[in-house]
């Protein structure tokens, strides 16, 4: 993602060489240049101070491990060469030299003590919470993340709670504290370029620090095995400049605007109320009687939650951040934008021309076929008939057209 500074490159490449040499003698030559470039989840390419702390510690540990490894292998190689059977007499039957043994026991112990000290101090630094500037809650469930911004003076001031999913928007340079839990099984929140992972355990609340140096989109993935679609439970952190972040916040709490009468989107609204609003909340949406529509996912899905779709098209991924809402051409404009432009590009949201209609349609047509979920009515006996994930809704193509038109206005 980011252009790395030359010094980091040199450091990390030599360390990688070391691991590669240790690990794969046979592929040594290939391993010299043997790493992916710009991997979105590269732990060796930190983009924030927390990940950087870990990386700096890593560098030392890998260097020591590398040196120890090289020494061991050098000694072994010499032994193989020097003492192979060339008909020499039977060696002395010595059972060892205790003094040498003790020295060779103390040396690794000393090395490890040397490593332990910085490691514990880094650990403590990474668990600090008193310098937090912004608090964001995340809640994991099968198989997506809900992100909500509680009312606070932090994050530049939030007066009305913001609920979104899949993508967490933050201000670059702000110390964010993620406070997380889970609604069903254990999930793990991991944005490799910003910090290590933290399991989100039902019934418990865990925190993890996040801070991005520069604006950009930082990819992450659930890393605690959480069932069928574990592989399809992803998330992103979108860091942007303060102005862009303020604009994003304002947009999130804008009042609901109903589609104009007679448009396809207006038909979509009634389809949405009939088909989708049992689980998916759209804030401000009213039914025919003018009553607020409150989604009751607790009565309809096992995890008791479904993504809030009020501002769906301000995000650019859907279904647990597994698929893009942006078509391939438009995706690059946001994901590969220069650091300074990321915020603006992201705030544009998803327009009709940029929509990845193919995959969104596939999803609406038959969600469990696209992303494996437990929705087969025959296997729901144990969950009181509630599916785990979005079920097959048997929507007609017309209804899908209407819904897409409606959803395109949700930004």
């Amino acid at each position: 993602m980011q252009a790395v500074t030359p010094t980091t490159t040199v450091k990390s490449v030599t360390s990688r060489v070391r691991i590669a040499r240790l690990s794969a003698v046979a592929v040594l030559a290939a391993a010299v240049a043997g790493c992916a470039q710009d991997a979105p989840q590269d732990t060796w390419d930190p983009a924030g101070p927390n990940a950087q702390k870990i990386h700096s510690l890593d560098n030392v540990v890998y260097a020591i491990a590398g040196v120890v490894g090289v020494i061991v292998f050098a000694v072994l190689s010499v032994a193989f060469w020097k003492f192979r059977d060339r008909g020499q007499p039977i060696p002395e039957q010595s059972h060892g030299k205790p003094a040498l043994e003790i020295v060779l026991t103390i040396i690794p112990a000393m090395i490890l003590i040397g490593v332990a000290i910085p490691s514990v101090s880094t650990l403590m630094a990474l668990n600090k919470t008193d310098d937090t500037e912004c608090i964001i809650n995340v809640t994991g469930q099968q198989w997506w993340w809900e992100v909500d911004y509680p009312v606070q003076e932090g994050c530049g001031g939030i007066d009305e709670p913001i609920v979104t999913s899949g993508q967490m928007v933050i201000e670059a340079g702000t110390k964010v504290l993620v406070r997380g839990t889970s609604r069903d099984v254990i999930h793990s929140w991991w944005i490799p370029r910003l910090n290590g992972k933290r399991d989100m355990v039902p019934g418990r609340v865990h925190t993890v620090r996040l801070e991005a140096d520069e604006p950009g989109i930082y990819a992450g993935q659930c890393t605690e095995f959480c069932g069928l679609s574990h592989a399809n439970m992803r998330m992103e952190v979108v860091a942007m400049e303060p102005d862009d972040f303020a604009a994003w916040k304002a947009n999130q709490v804008e009042a609901y605007v109903a589609p104009e009468e007679g448009t396809l989107a207006a038909e979509g609204e009634s389809t949405f109320v009939a088909q989708c609003s049992r689980c998916h909340q759209v804030d401000g949406l009213t039914d025919n009687d003018g009553e607020l529509v409150i989604a009751r996912p607790d009565q309809n899905v096992w995890s008791g939650a479904a993504p809030n779709l009020t501002n769906l098209m301000t995000r650019n991924t859907f279904a647990g951040a597994s698929w893009d809402l942006l078509s391939n051409e438009c995706r690059a404009d946001v994901w590969e934008a220069d650091s300074a432009d990321v915020g603006a590009a992201y705030l544009e949201g998803v327009s009709e021309s940029c929509l990845n209609e193919v995959e969104l349609r596939e999803w609406l047509r038959n969600a469990p076929a696209k992303k494996p979920m437990y929705t087969d009515p025959e296997s729901l006996e144990e969950t009181n008939g509630l599916p785990r994930g979005m079920p097959y809704l048997a929507l007609s193509e017309d209804q899908i057209d209407q819904l897409i038109a409606y959803l395109l206005e949700r930004k």
């Binding site: 990688r16 691991i19 590669a20 690990s23 794969a24 592929v27 790493c35 992916a36 470039q37 991997a39 979105p40 590269d42 732990t43 060796w44 870990i54 890593d58 540990v61 000694v75 072994l76 032994a79 193989f80 003492f83 192979r84 059977d85 007499p89 060696p91 002395e92 039957q93 010595s94 059972h95 060892g96 040498l100 043994e101 026991t105 490890l112 490593v115 332990a116 490691s119 650990l123 990474l126 668990n127 099984v185 254990i186 490799p192 290590g196 992972k197 355990v201 039902p202 019934g203 990819a219 993935q221 890393t223 095995f225 069932g227 069928l228 592989a231 494996p372 296997s379 969950t383 785990r388």
Partner: protein, 668 residues
């Protein structure tokens, strides 16, 4: 019933006809010495060891096939060979099969076969319990794998974290099979552990103090102690899970106020010692092989022994390093992080001692030696990457990624399986009386080494560059760019798997070539490697009674010192062979003991073991089956208690006290 050696004063001269009062009817013990019955009902630790090994090898192939499917699925992005559900079952069962049904029983095979031989005993302390261990393991293993045809295997990962293992999240019966199956194989491990611990403590040959015990026996002993203390923990955890799933308990239900981390603690208090249960036997094997092919005693024998014991002890205090990302709080994490680094010290001591054993030696690179050296190299890599995630902050980046997969395969495959292969090549002539082909063996070794490094080496990169474990697909969007992107390394890993599989296939070919009908492989010499320890002071394969004469031990490397004499003066040592191995063995046979008493075979261990899967099916499907299983178990225990102490074909020597009988050694 334990074997008790009787003094030799009263050789049976005439065998009185069995009277109605001394034999108890139809429940007499089986006597077959040929055919399948001689294997099915045997209590001979050697036959049991061989069967353990054969069944473990079978499960190794099953587990390997599962691994192959996993790697095929992940060879490219968005793999379609397996569905998400099947993939989850596959990686769960791959781990379960490899850990519980291959490595542990294979280590048990070696322990069963060689611990009695290495301590100069005629069998283990409780021969029928030994048979029970074997059959319980076999039926347990089959039971777990029948889940494939009964609705699918377990799909919660071998770590089976709660609450994902509860019924709402895994409605099929796979996890029930897994839970009950592991409870059954757990019985096998626990019974075996007690048996071998008693054997080692009580049945060593005269003169063999604990510090003269061969190192493999020592490591086996430590392993059994670990099993003894670790198995009860997992048994408790599995019982909780069984009650949660089958009987509506709420141990892991968060809505009822439970804390799901309870399972993690229980699992890893077992799970971490389990790592050492897997590698220590292999460490024992290479600690036997290296001295033999270096013509030097093991460097720092007491250090290796005590570091093994230390690993076993400290291994119980580091479980939470599997939970650094679980949210334990920084203080707990710091403590366990430091404890984990501490355990690297005794492990490092072993590597240093192996290296120094070779230093100054006379190295002969046979296949067994190559595998032993392979273990040192691969395990060093695994150990060093292990240190990198003892560092808790680094671990939060590495855990649950492919980096961990790489690490523990270097430890378990590189440190465990490679060591077991070394043992196979080293002890094959001892067990079967024929040498495996060295040429095919070297093919086997090199293909396995290249394959393993190609498979697991790239996983270090894949993991550090952000690919998590246990994903049934990976996506190109997260694979990065450049030629060496994660897609490339995933493909390399898949290719490596097949190289590795071919390497293992060469092992099977080697067995076939050596043992096929009409094979021209000559019988192995009695002492093919110029070995050092007690198991070689007998014929190959050993006679049913192991030793013609119970050996009297005066040195750590007893066999070596019987063959070689130090003719040097003062500090100058010069070793001259004054006897060949064959002569030493001949000498023993010429002075054979009289009246060797051996335990008789029995039907009941197998019947009792069979009742367990019946009970387990009952828990899953029907209470009636539970009753049937309980009935079989009761009958088997009854039969076990009732059957006579000896087989009827024994030469009975009824004595006044009505107790022991003795049997004359046939060939003396």
């Amino acid at each position: 019933m334990a074997i008790i050696e009787r003094p030799t004063e009263s050789p049976a001269t005439e065998a009185p006809a069995p009277s109605a009062s001394t034999s108890y009817g139809y429940l007499r013990r089986p006597v077959e010495t040929k055919g399948w019955r001689s294997w099915a009902f045997t209590v001979d630790h050697k036959k049991i060891g061989i069967m353990y090994g054969a069944v473990a090898l079978f499960f190794f192939i099953i587990g390997g096939l599962e691994a192959g499917l996993i790697r095929l699925q992940l060879a490219g992005p968005d793999g379609t060979i397996l569905s998400a559900d099947k993939y989850n079952q596959m990686f769960t069962m791959h781990a379960t099969t490899m850990v519980f049904l291959f490595v542990m029983p294979m280590a048990a095979a070696f322990a069963n076969y060689f611990i009695p031989l290495q301590i100069g005993a005629r069998d283990v302390a409780f021969p029928r319990l030994n048979a029970l261990s074997l059959w319980t393991f076999v039926f347990g293993g089959i039971f777990i794998n029948t889940s494939w045809i009964l609705g699918g295997g377990a799909d919660g990962g071998w770590f089976m974290y709660a609450p994902n293992s509860s019924v709402p999240f895994s409605p099929s019966n796979g996890i029930d099979f897994w839970t009950l199956g592991l409870l059954i194989t757990g019985i096998a491990s626990l019974v075996g552990a007690i048996n071998l611990i008693v054997t080692v403590l009580n049945m060593r040959a005269p003169g063999m103090t604990m510090m003269k015990m061969p190192i493999f026996t020592w490591m086996g002993f430590v392993t059994q102690m670990l099993l003894l203390f670790a198995m009860p923990v997992i048994t408790v955890a599995l019982f909780l899970l069984m009650f949660q799933r089958s009987f509506g308990a709420t141990f892991f239900s968060v809505e009822a106020g439970a804390d799901p981390l309870l399972w993690q603690h229980l699992f890893w208090i077992f799970g971490h010692p389990e790592v050492y249960i897997i590698v220590l036997p292999a460490f024992g094997i290479v600690s036997e092989v290296l001295p033999v092919f270096s013509k030097k005693p093991l460097f720092g024998y007491p250090f290796v022994v005590f570091s093994g014991a230390a690993i076993g002890f400290v291994g119980f205090g580091v479980w939470a390093h599997h939970m650094f990302a679980s949210g334990l709080g920084p203080v707990s994490v710091a403590v366990f992080s430091v404890a984990t680094m501490a355990i690297a010290v005794p492990t490092g001591v072993k590597i240093i001692n192996w290296t120094l054993t070779m230093w100054g030696g006379k190295l002969k690179f046979t296949t067994a030696m190559l595998f032993a050296v392979g273990l040192i190299v691969e395990f060093t890599i695994g150990g060093l990457s292990g240190v990198t995630h003892a560092i808790a902050p680094s671990d939060t980046q590495q855990t649950d990624t492919y980096y961990i997969v790489a690490h523990f395969h270097y430890v378990i495959f590189g440190g465990g399986v490679v060591g077991l292969f070394s043992g196979m090549y080293y002890w094959w002539p001892k067990i079967f009386g024929k040498m495996l082909s060295e040429t095919l063996g070297k093919w086997n070794f090199w293909l396995m080494m290249i394959g393993m490094n190609l498979t697991f080496g790239p996983m270090h990169i894949i993991g550090l560059q952000g690919q998590p474990r246990r994903m049934y697909v990976w996506t190109e969007y997260r694979a990065g760019e450049g030629f060496f992107n994660l897609g490339f390394w995933n493909l390399v890993a898949t290719i490596g798997t097949f190289v590795l599989a071919i390497g293992v296939f060469f092992f099977l070919i080697n067995i076939w070539v050596t043992h096929r009908p009409g094979s021209k492989t000559p019988p192995a010499p009695a002492d093919p490697w110029d070995a050092r320890s007690l198991e070689w002071i007998t014929s190959s394969p050993p006679k049913e009674y192991n030793f013609a004469r119970t050996p009297v031990v005066s040195d750590l490397d007893e066999f070596f010192h019987r063959k070689y004499e130090d003719v040097g003066e003062g500090d100058q040592h010069e070793y001259v062979q004054h006897m060949t191995g064959e002569e030493v063995i001949q000498n023993e046979e010429d002075n054979a003991d009289l009246n060797i008493h051996l335990p008789a075979p029995s039907y009941w261990p197998m019947v009792l073991a069979f009742s367990l899967p019946v009970l387990a099916y009952g828990v899953i499907y029907s209470t009636l089956l539970i009753l049937a299983g309980a009935a079989i178990a009761t009958m088997a225990m009854f039969g076990w208690a009732l059957e006579p102490a000896d087989a009827p074909q024994s030469d009975y020597d009824p004595t006044d006290d009505g107790g022991e009988t003795s049997k004359e050694l046939a060939n003396v």
